[in-house]
Amino acid sequence: MKIQQNHTSDINLKIKRRRWTNVGAIYLILLLFSVLFMGTFLFGALSSLKDDPSSWPPTLKTEQLSPKNWIGAYILARQGGGGGFFGELKSGHEVSFQVTYKYPMGIKIVPPQVIVPKRFKGSGRAALELDREFVADFVKIIPVEEIGRISVRDGNQVSYKIDIINPSQKDFDELPLDLLVPYKVDFLSATLSPNRIERLGRVQSWNNLVSGVIPYIFHNHFRVFNENYSRTTGRRLFTTWIFNSFFISIIKVLTTLMFASMAGYALARLKFYGKNYLFVLILFSMMIPGQVTFISNYLVLRDGIFGLTKLFGGGSLLNTFTGLIISGLVGASAVFIMKQFFEGLPKEMEESARIDGASTYQIFSKIMLPLAKPALGALTILTFQGVWNEFFWPLVIITSPMDKFTLTIGLLSFKDTYASGTFDWGPILAGAIISALPIIILFIVFQRYFVEGASFSGIKG
């Protein structure tokens, strides 16, 4: 008897142990997959902070995320007279900066040469479009002062204090700096880590000493907003694109909700001539790629929908939001989803309302619509996501001016803006990450609807 009991507990222990290891293994697998699926984004987001996201080897280490540099950026910006988080170089202020080098044995110890360079903002086409005053023409560099020397095993560690004054009446939003040291002298550390080290270590280069903490961390993200101006209106392009995308998405969500539920209800519950043919045609349309129909649609919009727009004093609908919206008031798949949903609802309430003498319109608006809330929720998310991410159709009908671009087409234009031989990946990645943010936030908040929407749209076939 006792032996048997021992045996059972042995087996129980084994089962328990097995269950735990099983769970562990599952978590391990799930975690590995998350790295695969989310890691790409996180790595992209992390690299969008870097000065040069395509430096080799690609590392997770990012100067912009080191607290030491945050403190440095804060102190320097305060010295410049601005706030610590968003800095500037105000009139009459002095910025004091420390840097340490290692001079190997046999190299003469001379202080670094300080240069405030005249640097164009931005790169590629963006650089050509901005003209401005250079801070270099106004500031005064005070001779470099040695503040410490420690002798180490094979040389000396020397620290210098570099002071730059803005004696002019003007305020500047940036202070770039280059330090030049003799060959073989090693850069060790500075109040703020340099953005680049060039010419085999001889030049350490800073984009902006007085940026403040936030612009220091999100350097590329600020560039996206600050370096793209419209040639026609002078407004910031990236902000305009975000606004455009929001505007079009919201309008299309509203029209889709309204018209899809109307059409879906008619298809699901009302009898009319040609209903079955229409339904087959809708299914057919969902299989046909947009590239099949776009030429005619392009022409229709070019001619203002058979000249109808002339009645309202308009002309061509190309390059207009009206054109973009009117050609996609409601998608066939949205109608399909609503039809499926309405068909799944019980008929009793509707029938009793009809006996009470309610009209079709009353039944639709008073009874069916309130019941359709869950489907409308999923449809809202699905439509918003679809319109926000839409690429092909805006590409076809919106070509100029850049003010009219949606975010997706705007991002595509970054490939020209930030390319000169090689890509300046910093702002491109930053722009991509920023434009994905609204959808990701929406997704995290309304996760349930996304998943429902996916299974809804899955039904469509």
């Binding site: 695969l36 349309s285 079709t360 990645l429 990701i440 996760q447 899955g458």
Partner: protein, 374 residues
Amino acid sequence: MENRWSSLKEKTAPYVLLSPFLFGFIIFFSYAFIRSLYFSFTDYDLFSVPNWVGINNYINLFKERLFTTALKNSLTFAIIVTTLQTIFALLLAVAMNQKIKGIRFFRTAYYMPSVTSSIVITLIFMWMFQRRGVINYLLTLLRQHGLTIGVFLTLLTGIQLLLVVTEKIRGRPVEYLEPSYIVISIIFAFIVTYVLKDFGIIKLAEVKAVDIFWLNTREKVPSWAGPLAFPRPLGAIMILNIWTTVPTFMILYLAGLQGIPKVLYEAAEVDGAKGWQKFWYITIPQLKHITFLVVTLGLIGTLQMFDQVKIIGSQAPLESTITLAYYVYDSAFPGASAPKVGMASAAAVILALLTLTIVLIQKKFSGEGRDLRD
């Protein structure tokens, strides 16, 4: 009078409710589709009056090398991506179909690539596929640590076999993949590999940085496949596309998995079925209609692949990435030369026919008829 008015209102109600949808549907789909058909038999160029040219456009298309390349690329892309994404989605769904804590977090994490736009994903991938990019770096790391990984895996298998065989000799029932033993094997293999490495017995291989051109190349992979090989940039887009679509289809499979009655598995267990047997004889047949759906959606989606080709643009040679959808766009809106709307429309019609044919064949082949209607 009142009565007649309300009866008229009732009779017209379906059409009134449908009218906003029908407005768009008729102009921007039906009319457009018919017009594309018509254009495909003309020499229209957006500006002058179209002339009827019969089936000349279709004949000329198949004489044009760029078109046949696009056709081949589209088909290769559709077949490979659909196959792989279906398999991965199914496996991932099976792995996700667990009642454990935090599964929601993982679902969120996995679904992320599917909600963001093609431009965002493609830009990030282009950055990773640069010559000095993340993908090449990871490959370099893999080559450097190849020996270490090999030693680790050999040790892992060895220890596991040893443990299982000893148990078997003692006459205890044990499976080859007994999880608790795997954990022990992993720990031991890790420690031994670490020690070997620490003593310098295993060294990092001296390799050059991997220097694969992912985008700017005309090379075809796999090199042994002859005429079946596809351009490497297209392969890069395949990786990208599988990565973004797998999560969506995983959600569909997950819903299907949750609908399989538990009784089936329990009955199989009573009959002594093993894990993989249950998967093969219960899970897969039960998910048949979802698989049909996933394959259909996959084919429709992959055949119209356009965005990635446009976004990668001049980063890769055109014939290495061009698809049918892009061919249509490029012929209708070529940068410098005159628009060839006739040719573009003919290619568009072929694309539509191709999609329909493949979906119909698929439907017949898998013997599923009702799904499209339900």
